[in-house]
Chain length 353, copies 2
Amino acid sequence: MSTDTKIKMGLQCPMPQLDFEYITLGHGSGGLLTNKLLNSGVFKLFSNPFLDKQHDGAIINTSGELAITTDSFVVSPIFFPGGNIGELSVFGTVNDLAMCGARPKYLTLGFILEEGLTMKEFWDVLVGIKWAAEESGVQIITGDTKVVDKGKGDKVFINTTGVGELLPGASIDQNNIKVGDKIIVSGQVATHGVAIMSVRKGLEFETTIESDTRCLHKMVEGLIEQFGQKVKFLRDPTRGGIGTSLTEMSKSASWGINIHQDNLPTDQQVESACELLGLDPLYVANEGIFLTIVDPDIANEAVNILRQHEYGTHAAIIGEIVEDHPGQAVLFSGIGGKRVINMLIGEQLPRIC
Amino acid sequence: MSTDTKIKMGLQCPMPQLDFEYITLGHGSGGLLTNKLLNSGVFKLFSNPFLDKQHDGAIINTSGELAITTDSFVVSPIFFPGGNIGELSVFGTVNDLAMCGARPKYLTLGFILEEGLTMKEFWDVLVGIKWAAEESGVQIITGDTKVVDKGKGDKVFINTTGVGELLPGASIDQNNIKVGDKIIVSGQVATHGVAIMSVRKGLEFETTIESDTRCLHKMVEGLIEQFGQKVKFLRDPTRGGIGTSLTEMSKSASWGINIHQDNLPTDQQVESACELLGLDPLYVANEGIFLTIVDPDIANEAVNILRQHEYGTHAAIIGEIVEDHPGQAVLFSGIGGKRVINMLIGEQLPRIC
């Protein structure tokens, strides 16, 4: 979140007065200290009818098809320009639900805290979670807190598991993809990875490069509401970047993918940073964008709809499904070169999410 | 699981031939190495129609009330007499669902691996998960794998989130509890905690004390099928032990709890180990037992039903709900003493689950 939002959220959710400053092993005991930690303000911060029962589990009433997805977050550092691990852990899972064609509804929250984490740091992460959950319209329905000895963790790891209701009219299925379909990206690539890497390497730019961690489901809902099953596939290219996502999509397909490098929306500063750091933007992790494959009839209109959304102003058609080179994604450069896109090999940016 | 089961499962699920021996950061990149790791045999091990799609999320079709619960597992060491972190992470969540009065159906699985973990260790954990999932009748429907740098984790942490369907006739609600109701425990206390502690302290006994990690939902189903809403409350007293669970149950109630120490089923060796280690069995973590509060009319019959189950042979009525000392649980010793039971203070056994 931006500095403004941070101040606003901090005022709205001030840290409670506590008689301890650090997380200790006892806070993970399941006994008195765990109760004290959770009742110090954590339960109140996320209050809702599910959580207020303080049971080990939550009961939800549903019917129809549900999407379920899980993700653990180990990003380092836990605070970075544009966000923190708390927001990331909500938006990451909310976006995975959106990619299933679902409306995010509920989240579970599992913490693994390292002994010695300050309560202030933990509270800031919690406020990030609260803000992101409100932004996304999801409720935290149940959770778990463990503490590991100092040196056996790294401040805080978070698991979120999300439950969403499938959108009426959604039919997200790779089998629907046909030659001629268009590939759209909803925003600029490589922003999140470069934001994290800049902090780690102590790089400074004219303006700070901020992570684009944010929720994408409203954009997805807009598309599915308008175009139904003409929206054929959705993927948020996080770890591994769009290069890995495109390779995964095409690898066992009877068709190929062409991507036009000149059409890839990138921020000038992010691009310069990538050059400086020796990173290929195709493989840099993203958070706040998604790829979609749509019927060619609606591609231009879909881009226009995305561009009306605050997170979609840079949306663009970047390629298409072709008969050539089945099972492969190929990148065409502006000066006429072409190369096969492969998966990320090794790890260029460990612990990016 | 027992040594016999281990051998049998090992034969049934031999480790695949791999060209790497250790987990590296690249295995958490989301790129080629992550794909290689998962396709090396992990996906095959847990194969089911949900997981086989290899999407970021799973779609389940449901109706009615669902229980959802989440738990992270950080037990150390990851292999201990009677089990490993893999089994624990399945049974722990399956049991939390059972305590909601639900039949466990689906699990999500999130790994945080430490760089340098051997593939052999990881595989043994995976086989533990497979065995426990089969025992419990649950399917692993989606997952996530992250890797953290050496020294920033501790071999493997696991999060499981479980989804279960509420049993017809179940009405597990603390508000149904009335004075006169009986408190039953399904088996011997303190076994899991002492098993872990013995390994850590290098203690040896005549026979090895094995963790009682196992699934409890079949016993719970047996009770609810027979007695419906006369089964009023369920709780598995894991971290914090039965002392903490009894305190939590009674703390804001208009009634009190009496517990008769002589009726508490304990293993002689476990009791001796507790004395040796200076542990109060009331606060030692359990895995394979549960507490239930039932209508007095059915208490004896409920104990008989539990005792017919292989995990319930030591089931016993250990106390009752009383008018006296509302909000408190009181322990009566065999020699006429009594003391108030409080929550576990501090942490006597860190990282027990």
